[in-house]
Amino acid sequence: MFILFFALWLLMAGTMTVSTCLWGAAVSGMLCWYCRRTLGYQWQWRRYTIRQLWSAVCYLWNLLLEMLKAGVVVMKLIYTRGRNMEPKLIWFDTTLQSNRSRAVLANSITLTAGTITVEAQNGRFCVHALDASLAENIESCQFQKQLKELEA
């Protein structure tokens, strides 16, 4: 966490002098202490295999493509359909086990225009879709399959 704060400080400062580094180290240390003590954050090292890291990169790439594709689809709907939409609220269960994967799935669904995660509790998701066509097979979407691979 300290390294992340320090890297962020250097990036925002834009220079690499002794003074910047000392101030950066002091501020990062204080922020780190505050996050651990008051907000209860904990930084845990986890070992990832190269396959998992590659899967994560593929997931992010797929997410970016889906976000852009969904944006274009919703733009088309705005011009062609207007108020003649068939919005849908769908409840479904996810097969993902860890809270981290579920949170990532919920965020990915919301980031993709046309679908918003309304609720995600105990593996039960509630998603609002702008049109019924955008909600087809949402419970077995590509994101979920890739996250399942990452969990394994």
């Binding site: 852009l68 919005p87 225009a113």
Partner: protein, 107 residues
């Protein structure tokens, strides 16, 4: 030659981003329910911001500003879904009859 090409792509990306934001604002007027309007706003958040920031990176070239622009992507795309989720959850929890606004399906 390459510099000119990058400038043209950057400008095109920037203009397309402005068009996306125009569409998002239009969508806010064309849709009639808050959850539908949020989808229109999400287009600006995802595609609009992406096109405009990529356009700026291409026009400005790879520099410290470009790295800071990538940071904007990161913060925006991490925080925007959380805010959207909270607004949507509040709307669904407080509306008296959600079935009047949209079809509800259990799978």
């Amino acid at each position: 030659m390459v510099h000119n090409l990058v400038t043209v792509i950057g400008l095109a990306s920037l203009l397309f981003g402005v068009f996306v934001f125009f569409t998002a604002v239009l969508g806010l007027y064309r849709f009639d329910y808050v959850l539908n309007r949020m989808h229109a706003a999400a287009v600006g958040d995802a595609l609009g911001i992406f096109c405009i920031l990529i356009g700026l990176i291409l026009l400005h070239g790879w520099s410290l500003s470009a790295a800071k622009t990538i940071l904007i992507f990161l913060f925006l795309w991490l925080t925007s879904p959380v805010a959207s989720h909270l607004i949507a959850e509040m709307e669904v929890c407080t509306i008296s009859n959600i079935k009047k606004e949209c079809e509800v399906e259990e799978r």
